[in-house]
């Protein structure tokens, strides 16, 4: 089958296309879902078309990594990185299931080798290095592979003098890699410090549901801009741990994006449907580019470099 004429994300197996406008709505129950935010019954395809954001109340459902990147990045050339990096069971960790088996199961389920996707592309014409967690892979936990891929995002951004964007959704460090996953916090942050000191390029951190533990306590909370999706759980300690420690239940709305905004911990809450334009607008200002979408030098080339090398 020829890839010609298809945009980069349409060539990824995991991508579910957004339905065309005016598609007739069938009357089958399994094509509808109830919104946990407003109890409205939503047509699944309409929800998909709106980036999994409830059209009635703005509740943010989970969205696939490719769908998210497709909504964020321009249709032009895109380069994937570090798809060959795979996890290692350095500790020979066994709980109810050996880590090696968990890795295999997650890889099969999710269709990638670990919990992170790194890509070079552009947003409203501004070239960027982007990384996105895949929460479906062991809760988006950060082990050596995720840490390496994020470090590479910053290092690439530093070399290419481009802004970096990391979209987090992670329960934190990956227990099964023990102290090695803890060290990923230092490795990633050190690379970020170089991006700031050497290239002087902006870094935007996008927090989505949930961002906690070692991911929150490292690069996720260090963006020049920190943009949070509405209603995301964001914090250092998990709510259950806090409840156990203090022996009382937590206030309503504790550790939500809105709570963090109120306490000065994030710059803005941005709906997924506005994320692309918000990032484009702010990046152009930080980079002192003229307002309005940056025109590409050349017409978009529909060429995908999958599995591209990072350096």
């Amino acid at each position: 089958m020829s890839n010609e004429g298809r945009r980069w994300f349409e060539q990824r197996k995991e991508f579910s296309p957004r339905p065309r406008e005016g598609t007739p709505i069938p009357d089958t129950p399994d094509l509808w879902t109830k919104c946990p935010g407003c109890a409205e019954t939503l047509y699944i395809e309409a929800l998909q078309a709106n980036l999994q954001v409830c059209t009635a109340c703005g509740h943010h459902f989970k969205i696939g990594v490719m769908e998210r990147l497709a909504a964020l990045l321009d249709d032009g050339e895109v380069e994937f990185h570090d798809e060959d990096l795979g996890p290692v069971d350095a500790l020979k960790f066994v709980d109810s299931k050996p880590y090696a088996a968990r890795i295999k199961a997650s890889q099969k389920k999710v269709g990638r080798r670990d919990a992170f996707v790194a890509v070079s592309g552009s947003i409203e014409g501004v070239d960027v290095e982007v990384g996105c967690f895949d929460f479906r892979f062991m809760g988006g936990s950060m082990g050596s592979v995720v840490g390496e891929a994020i470090t590479n995002v910053y290092e690439r951004a530093n070399e290419r003098k481009r802004p970096a964007i990391i979209i987090s959704s992670s329960g934190g460090a990956r227990m099964q890699e023990g102290v090695l996953s803890l060290m990923q916090m230092a490795k990633t942050c050190a690379a970020l410090s170089r991006l700031q000191d050497e290239a002087g390029m902006p870094y935007i951190s996008v927090l989505t549901h949930p961002t906690t533990g070692g991911v929150a306590a490292s690069f996720a909370m260090l963006g020049d801009l920190i943009l949070a999706e509405p209603g995301a759980l964001i914090g250092f300690a998990g709510p259950r741990v806090i409840e156990q420690t203090i022996g009382q239940s937590l206030p309503e709305g504790f550790q939500t994006s809105e709570y963090l905004l109120e306490h000065g911990m994030v710059d803005r809450i941005v709906s997924r449907t506005d994320m692309r334009s918000m990032i484009g607008t702010t990046l152009r200002m930080l980079l002192k580019l003229p307002s309005g979408e940056v025109a590409p030098d050349a017409p978009p080339v529909l060429e995908v470099k999958e599995g591209g090398k990072s350096r």
């Binding site: 990096l85 795979g86 996890p87 290692v88 350095a90 500790l91 960790f93 066994v94 709980d95 109810s96 080798r113 082990g143 050596s144 592979v145 390496e148 460090a173 990956r174 227990m175 890699e177 023990g178 102290v179 090695l180 996953s181 803890l182 060290m183 990923q184 916090m185 230092a186 490795k187 942050c189 050190a190 970020l192 410090s193 170089r194 000191d197 906690t212 533990g213 070692g214 929150a216 306590a217 490292s218 690069f219 996720a220 909370m221 260090l222 964001i234 914090g235 250092f236 300690a237 741990v241 806090i242 420690t245 203090i246 937590l250 206030p251 504790f254 306490h263 000065g264 911990m265 090398k309």
Partner: protein, 320 residues
Amino acid sequence: MDVVLDFERPVVQLRTRIAQLRDIEKANGVDLSASIEQLEHQSRKLEQRIFSRLSPWQRTLLSRHASRPYTLDYIDALFTEWVELHGDRAGYDDQALVCGMARFNDRPVVVIGHQKGRNTKENIRRNFGMARPDGYRKALRIMEMAERFGLPIFTFIDTPGAYPGIDAEERGQAEAIAKNILEMARLTVPVIATVIGEGGSGGALAIGVANRVLMLENSVYSVISPEGCAAILWRDRAEGPRAAEALRITAADCFDLGVVDEVIPEPYGGAHRHVDEIATSVGQILEKHLAELEALEPEALRQDRYARFRVMGKLVGAEA
């Protein structure tokens, strides 16, 4: 208050017996030296047997031992002219983390460390060594001062973890830890971190991004407490010993994993039974590492730290 762990008890009992015999000797003027000598030999043998094959869980318990030397004990033993410095300049002075300046073998340095309490009253003040964001921000302020004046930084890590509480979250625990990790990566002065007890996750790393990371033999360094890990994986905190094994948290493990540069041996019986001895060897090892780092230019120190952490982790498919 002398806390005795179960596996220490046989040795402690023998020691008590020896002390009793000595008292009898003194009081009654009899010669019991043969018995005493025999018991002493026995106790040394027993201690050696127990302490030469400690399980990860036993080491975890030792790392938390209520009599274990804490940060202020090392400051007292190894530094002169200690001047504690307080406050984050934003409303708080976290007592779970102590900061200050002092002299180490005559050189002016900065010292930062978690501080636990030895009793309930002290522990309320010290919050069991669990710092809030204010503590990490105080530590950062002092590290930045060290950077401005070119002073080496020693940190002593001894925390169950950063405090998981409402106020801590409200004031940005995650951000405070993150910021310290980032800024420590930038420092151009020598930084030496020593895990003296519990190296509890992000709360430890927030003062742990150093050129050299040292660990006492019976200290632990982990991404999550064994009990916390057990609660998640086995839904039972009592499975802590199993988790301690699985997580590879001992000093020897951390050395094998490349996370720690040198393990500081503890005498049989543990640091808490040989406080002077362990302080002396910590002092000698700190001096050795500081002398090595002092030979490096400021920018080289930053590069050295970057290179140290850049290679952390194990994975396949990485480009050479």
